[in-house]
């Protein structure tokens, strides 16, 4: 009898507990808020990222959501996706809005590197530095690809491909594949910080490192570390330059034609890349090989210049080559978005949030927001390995830079085809 009572009472208590747990978790949710360019020329980036993020979150919730600190399960809730128009002040406004008027534990967004640079500057530089009045709000960015942004604040995280490693490996591979290719040349758009720095300090350097010979004036080696100092850039800035909005590429194309290299690097976003490719075609410039900027491994390039881009090789952090990548691709496609290296990062970030939340064991109640944010940041900072769509992503906790698996894609018959898969 006694034992019976004991059993019953224990049962009741446990029921009660679990019930309370259920009820308490039912009205709780892990809130995140996203933003990106949804107006202006870069609208497609923001739209794709939002679609990817929401789809991924839907997947996670369908699978039961995330486990909170008290062991109960709660869904992730995207409480909004703002339009930042790639303007500094708007990005900062949204960041502050997220931090001060919402319960979001992490902000996921910002399309443009320039805006990220401003946004990260508003954050607290070093965690726990009480003399620094910067915002204490974790940001997990899917783009912001420009090298060296993560160091601006310890609250800022990026899930972007490591371009240095990517291009290094690409040219290593190319030098084996195409022993016939000796010389190379190329151009970039100088008004886009990301394209410019990546071209001069990463791509060109990697090519030189792997024995390709620069046509025309020599470019000094920058060494392994990306420096942004002026001397190197000016020295390296011997390539062809244009602006993102330019419409006339005759001079640059002719100079390259004159150099007549085996390989041409077009480190430029889709619009100007297409303009330049078309001009090269007009002037009958026929390189043996074309290499592009990772940001151009997207649908936009195909929209802009399918014919001219034929054969261009680009390393990218995403391609539907694994089962889950394919699955994600289909889901996002159905939802009306494209999954490219940027939006794929947005997808992965949803899962990163899940991992970090479960590692941090947050409470996710409206009165614990600040504590949750701090815990979440620490957890995110301590995550050294996570599963990306096309393979494991490792993160250097010191610099906060991710290094993601990558593949080489090429435009073949007007479609992106994976031509080499260096993973593992």
């Amino acid at each position: 009898m006694k034992r019976f009572c004991k059993v019953v009472s224990v049962g009741l208590v446990s029921c009660a507990l679990s019930l309370s747990a259920l009820t308490s978790s039912a009205d709780r949710s892990v809130k995140v808020l996203g933003w990106g360019a949804q107006s202006g020329p870069l609208k497609s980036f923001g739209v794709n990222s939002e679609t990817a993020l929401r789809s991924a979150v839907a997947e996670i919730n369908a699978a039961g959501g995330v486990k909170l600190g008290d062991g109960s399960m709660a869904p992730i809730e995207v409480i909004g996706y703002e339009d930042s128009a790639c303007k500094k002040d708007q990005n900062i406004a949204i960041l502050r809005k997220t931090a001060s008027t919402t319960d979001a534990i992490v902000g996921m967004g910002a399309t443009c590197s320039g805006s990220c640079q401003a946004m990260f500057g508003v954050l607290q530089k070093k965690v726990g530095d009480s003399s620094d009045s910067g915002l204490q709000m974790p940001i997990l960015a899917d783009t912001c690809i420009r090298p060296g942004l993560a160091k601006i604040s310890e609250w800022a995280f990026r899930n972007v491909p490591n371009e240095i490693a990517m291009y290094d490996a690409l040219f290593a591979w190319l030098s084996q594949q195409h022993p016939d290719i000796k010389t190379f040349s190329g151009g970039t758009e100088t008004d886009q910080g990301h394209s410019f720095i990546t071209h001069t300090a990463v791509i060109v350097q990697a090519a030189i490192k792997h024995g390709f010979e620069w046509v025309g004036p020599a470019v000094p080696e920058l060494g392994p570390k990306v420096k942004q100092g002026m001397k190197e850039l000016q020295a390296a800035a011997k390539t062809q330059h244009w602006l993102m909005g330019d419409t006339n590429y005759t001079v640059q194309a002719r100079k390259i034609k004159k150099q007549n290299p085996d390989m041409i690097l077009v480190s430029s976003h889709p619009f100007s890349a297409c303009g330049f490719l078309k001009e090269m075609k007009r002037q009958r410039v026929k390189p043996k090989l074309l290499v592009g900027l990772t940001s151009s491994a997207s649908q936009e390039t195909l929209n802009g210049c399918m014919k001219e881009a034929e054969g261009i090789i680009i390393p990218t952090g995403f391609a539907p080559i694994t089962a889950e990548a394919q699955k994600a691709n289909d889901i996002v496609g159905k939802a009306g978005g494209f999954l490219d290296l940027h939006s794929a990062a947005a997808w992965e970030n949803a899962y990163l949030v899940k991992a970090a939340v479960e590692a941090a064991g947050i409470t996710a109640s409206s009165d614990s927001v600040d504590a949750d944010r701090a815990k979440f940041r620490d957890a995110l900072a301590s995550i050294t390995a996570s599963d990306g769509l096309i393979g494991p992503v490792s993160r250097d906790t010191a610099t906060g830079e991710a290094s993601k698996p990558y593949v080489y894609v090429q435009v073949v018959d007007g479609q992106w085809k994976v031509i080499h898969d260096p993973r593992g």
Partner: protein, 303 residues
């Protein structure tokens, strides 16, 4: 709260920018150079606080001087061009300033990292306020002190003979000249004052967003600078403030809930506003309505 303070700061900065154009439009000069002066002010102040570690006040002062001096120099050649020609000539100046910053690379190494303007990579980590532990409301008070002072000065001078002279030159240069007003002096003075105010706005902006690059100081910004006084009306300084609140407060931030339809509405609402209030949102009519509502008896016409 923080969010609204930030919005108020933005409004303050843009009000200053608008007022700098307001001064010029009073004298009949539609100047697109304000974006240039804004940029000069921003970069000057930022370089001083970041590279030379000046205090914010002295940096702002210097920025105002530099921008003002530049405006003074631009003022003289600009005298020769009128109307649309002036618009384009000043666009040329703004673009020149922008391209200058576009090419400006001046980096120094401080505790391990390179800081300073880095050409197209922008000028990151202008964190004077944060590094010195300023809270956002402190920044707001600091910033708005400038705004209030500038507004007060312009509001007052609008009521003095100086204001009347400015407007007279704007109304009819020949007549002004024939009534003994030295048009050259008036116009250059207005240009200089505009430069000083724009420089002030820029120096505050730089520290508000912590990051500068040439993308900010485009023709678009110059267009906004003249848009504020035109949209608000030239009746008095509050017109500009009203216009800034309308654009930054309502169209940009207020309509966020509309998602990407917000920017569609942006242009449309400007058109509507100009059609229904060609003399500006804050024209005499509005003022009269307000005064009747508040029961203020107005003294002496539109002085």
């Amino acid at each position: 709260m923080d969010y609204y303070l930030n919005l108020i700061n933005t409004i303050g900065i843009h009000t200053l920018l608008g007022l700098s154009a307001y001064l010029l439009i009073l004298t009949g000069q539609v100047s697109m150079a304000q974006a240039g002066f804004f940029g000069v002010g921003a970069y000057t102040a930022a370089i001083l606080t970041v590279i030379f570690q000046w205090s914010i006040l002295s940096a702002i002062g210097a920025a105002m001087l530099v921008a003002g001096g530049l405006a003074f120099l631009v003022g003289f050649p600009a005298l020769r061009v009128r109307g649309l020609m002036l618009v384009v000539a000043t666009i040329a100046f703004s673009e020149f300033a922008r391209m200058f910053f576009y090419n400006l690379r001046w980096q120094v190494v401080r505790d391990g990292t390179e800081i300073g303007p880095n050409g197209t990579m922008g000028f990151a980590e202008i964190r004077y306020f944060n590094n010195n532990g300023w809270l956002n409301w402190e920044v707001t008070i600091f910033l708005w002190t400038f705004v209030v002072v500038v507004m007060a000065i312009i509001w007052w001078s609008d009521r003095t003979r100086v204001g009347a002279v400015l407007r007279a030159v704007g109304e009819d240069e020949l007549a002004a000249d024939s009534t003994g007003i030295n048009v050259t002096v008036v116009k250059v003075a207005a240009m200089t004052a505009g430069g000083v105010v724009a420089g002030l706005a820029g120096s505050l902006y730089a520290h508000q967003v912590t990051d500068l690059d040439h993308h900010t100081f485009t023709v678009l910004l110059a267009t906004f600078a003249i848009a504020y006084p035109i949209l608000g009306g030239l009746t008095n300084v509050f017109g500009t403030l009203v216009a800034v609140v309308f654009i930054q407060g309502l169209l940009v931030e207020g309509l966020r809930f509309l998602g990407d339809w917000r920017m569609l509405l942006f242009g449309a609402l400007i058109i509507v506003a100009m059609n229904f209030k060609p003399m500006g949102l804050f024209d005499n009519q509005t003022i009269r309505i307000l005064q009747n509502a508040l029961g203020i008896k107005r003294r002496g016409g539109s002085t």
